[in-house]
């Protein structure tokens, strides 16, 4: 598919941005004025160019062919002695003027593009400040406070200062370890066999702090006495009752029943 030699001009459509661009280029090259009157001459040039391209067996995009057909039609209309309006209502002169207007418009934008791209460009022609130091910023606080919140804070502080309920305990309610030990020393010998620790507590203890204090003191006392070898301790299960007996006792009998229910 070699293009034929000896063409009047080099036919190559690759350089054009569509038919209007081609028309513009032809008008520029042939110095054809873009008035309605000279559109006919320009159409001739265009048709010749497309014919040349076809002869050279170049692939001509459909849009160029559409324009060629349209120009041929326009040219034939322009040649008519009387300017008969086309079916769309436009006369041939109006159609030619519309084409000329579009060419002027594209030409204007092409020139604008040229001028735009001739501007000094960032990175190509100029640079901004390389490393700006930045401007120092001083922060200034605008304090806001809510009066209600302030009063609440003060109210809470003042409320906190009113005396809080304090746990006071009458010393007479408490059993000391020494007292408990003396009592255990005295009682343990009187029992025949293993006895529940709780059964050694005095009768008539008030539930609550008094009972708990007596039990705790007796427990500590029993541990002390076991350490000293005066008694033996036994617990059959975790959290189960604690039994004690005299050291010399053989442990033949089962535990005795507690003297009173324990609140522990």
């Amino acid at each position: 598919m070699e293009p034929e030699q000896g063409e009047e001009w080099t036919v190559d459509l690759a350089g054009y941005e569509g038919p209007i661009d081609l028309l513009l280029t032809l008008a520029r090259d042939r110095k054809i004025d873009l008035t309605a009157l000279s559109i006919s001459a320009l159409a001739d040039q265009y048709l010749a160019f497309i014919a040349g391209a076809k002869t050279a067996r170049l692939e001509v995009a459909a849009e160029y062919l559409v324009m060629a057909a349209w120009l041929a039609y326009l040219k034939s209309r322009l040649l008519l002695p009387r300017d008969v309006p086309a079916p769309d209502g436009r006369s041939a002169t109006e159609m030619a003027e519309a084409l000329a207007e579009q060419m002027r418009r594209l030409e204007a934008m092409q020139q604008a593009a040229k001028r735009l791209f001739a501007l000094p460009r960032l990175g190509r022609d100029w640079l901004p400040r390389g490393v700006p130091e930045g401007l120092p910023v001083h922060k200034q606080a605008d304090w806001t406070a809510d009066f209600t919140s302030l009063l609440r804070a003060y109210g809470a502080l003042m409320a906190r200062r009113t005396p809080a309920p304090v746990l006071t305990v009458d010393p007479g309610l408490l059993t000391s370890v020494e007292d408990a030990m003396a009592r255990l020393e005295r009682l343990v010998g009187t029992l025949p066999a293993w006895g529940d620790l709780r059964s050694f507590l005095p009768k008539g203890l008030q539930p609550g702090i008094q009972s708990r204090s007596a039990l705790a003191a007796s427990f500590v006392a029993s541990l002390e006495m076991a350490k000293a070898g005066h008694v033996r301790l036994r617990q059959d299960e975790t959290y189960g009752p604690l039994y004690l007996s005299q050291r010399c006792d053989a442990g033949t009998a089962g535990p005795v029943a507690p003297e009173e229910p324990s609140d522990g």
């Binding site: 559409v66 519309a98 418009r105 735009l116 960032l122 400040r129 401007l135």
Partner: protein
């Protein structure tokens, strides 16, 4: 002490140190009462005329930049720069001058369809962005330029696009008349462009 000189010292220091260009209002805030920001900037422009750095307006804000004629000496061209195709250049110009503009409008002006690669390529530059849809049948997307576009081309604003006033005066930016223009106006502008399309 010359008040204007002192103010010029302050503003040049500001513009050198600021990490972003500053508006005249930002500058005015730092100036003593009675000194007009515009006068100080004018003074600075004179002081730096012909120097290697210069105060210029960019997107409506002032900054210092190197003088464009020094580009080659600064060896800036060494930076790899992807060349835009002609289709991309023209499409960018149409978007810049006629924004907001839809793809069909761009196609009507160029007389050729705009390939996706043209839009994609421009999106890659960061110079264009989609705008609101236009309220016409099909609700096509409009296209706008970005602040990065102004920065890249060193433009104070879109009004500073070269020849903007002349083009406007000549009615070349009036998109309303566009759709009646296309002489060859085929009903379908899509799909008729073969691979020859230079925009591809």
């Amino acid at each position: 002490m010359d008040d204007l000189l002192e103010a010029a010292r302050l503003v040049e220091a500001l513009l050198f140190a600021a990490s972003e260009p500053m508006s005249e209002a930002d500058i005015a805030k730092r100036l003593p009462p009675g000194i007009k920001a515009s006068s100080v900037i004018e003074r600075l422009r004179l002081d730096y005329a012909g120097r290697g750095v210069e105060p210029v307006q960019l997107g409506g804000k002032w900054h210092f930049r190197t003088a464009p004629d020094l580009g080659p000496a600064l060896a800036l061209t060494k930076r790899e720069e992807r060349r835009l195709t002609r289709a991309m250049e023209e499409t960018l110009a149409i978007i810049a001058y006629q924004q907001p503009v839809t793809r069909p409008e761009i196609e009507a002006i160029r007389g050729v369809s705009v390939g996706s690669s043209t839009i994609d390529g421009l999106l890659d530059t960061g110079w264009i962005k989609p705008g609101p849809r236009k309220d016409v049948p099909g609700r096509p997307l409009t296209w706008l330029t970005t602040p990065a576009f102004l920065k890249a081309f060193g433009l104070a604003s879109l009004n500073d696009l070269p020849g903007m006033d002349d083009l406007r005066a000549a009615g070349m930016l009036d998109t309303a008349s566009l759709l009646n223009l296309d002489p060859a106006a085929p009903a379908d502008s899509e799909g008729q462009i073969a691979a020859k399309d230079g925009s591809a």
